[in-house]
């Protein structure tokens, strides 16, 4: 039954999506699970010890982080702009938008480092000096989640810098947009995770 009748059928062609993009989405699935592990633990731990959490804004600096969130959103739009420019073969656009994305990402990291230093050195928490990962579950979950997000941003910024350098060598163009799109997927995912983190860590 499985042979002759189907012998002449048109061969199946996967997802009709190019392999790198499929690969990135598959990889993002595992990233979802990684952050789900961290966020899930956060939710469970917080339910178990709600009284040890500070009110939003008491310890963490919400305005600064809101600004940082805005930076990341901006970097997402510059990233898609870079992809759009690549599709149109707009070399100048590719360079400018990629550079902008890189810089925005780097600035995000800089602000986060500033935030960490402020917290560790100048905040007090439950009587002890400095808000550190050792400062109860609140500190532990905060630094773990934002830290791993920051690590992902760092990786993204490194890749973006590399893509920007390649852009200056004229690597990308209308016939070569895959790299930018795949990198963009990663970058938007990092943005998406931050949207969730910003809400549940800083605002709730």
């Amino acid at each position: 039954m499985a042979h002759a009748a189907t012998a002449g059928r048109v061969p199946e062609r996967g997802l009709d999506v190019y392999t790198q993009k499929v690969g990135m989405w598959v990889f993002l699935c595992s990233e979802v699970m990684f952050f789900a592990g961290l966020i899930g633990s956060y939710v469970v731990l917080r339910f178990g010890a709600a009284d040890t959490w500070a009110e939003p804004g008491d310890v963490l600096n919400v305005p600064v982080t809101a600004f940082n969130t805005f930076l990341l959103i901006c970097s997402s739009v510059t990233m898609v702009k870079a992809f759009a420019a690549a599709q149109e073969g707009d070399q100048r656009g590719i360079k400018v938008w990629l550079l902008a994305t890189t810089l925005l990402g780097a600035t995000f990291l800089g602000v986060q480092v500033y935030e960490y230093i402020e917290l560790v050195l100048h905040k007090s928490w439950e009587g002890s000096h400095g808000f550190t990962p050792a400062a109860g579950l609140y500190g532990a979950t905060f630094f773990t989640m934002t830290g791993f997000h920051g690590f992902h941003v760092l990786l993204g910024v490194i890749c973006l810098a590399w893509a920007t350098i390649r852009a200056h060598k004229g690597h990308w163009g209308a016939d070569n947009t895959h790299g930018i799109e795949v990198l963009g997927l990663y970058w938007h995912f990092v943005d998406l995770v931050w949207i969730i983190l910003f809400t549940i860590v800083y605002l709730i």
Partner: protein
């Protein structure tokens, strides 16, 4: 089905939908972020804050996934790949939360 055909088709798809909307989505995202910060400090019951914040966060996440990550324009099979882990996430968190029931 040549490779060029497939390529061109997906590129054409992208062209049809995306360009005009990127900045608009950005505006949405920025406004929602601002709203989130405002809601977080409103003097309303905590559960209302939490629910509205979560709704806005999911909304923002959807905007990014659908438009910036082009899920809106991808074939269903790829969407399936993208959504595959979500049931696992839901099961994990819900079951662990059962400890508090």
């Amino acid at each position: 089905m040549s490779e060029a055909g497939g390529h061109a088709a997906s590129a054409a798809d992208d062209h049809a939908h995306e360009h005009p909307k990127y900045m608009l989505i950005w505006l949405y995202l920025a406004i929602l972020t601002l709203l989130e910060v405002l809601v977080a400090f409103l003097a309303i019951p905590k559960w209302m804050i939490v629910v509205s914040l979560l709704i806005m966060a999911v909304w923002k996440a959807l905007l990014v996934a659908l438009y910036y990550m082009h899920l809106k324009f991808e074939p269903n099979r790829l969407r399936l790949v993208a959504l595959a882990p979500l049931p696992a996430v839901a099961i994990m968190i819900l079951a662990i939360m059962m400890e508090y029931v």
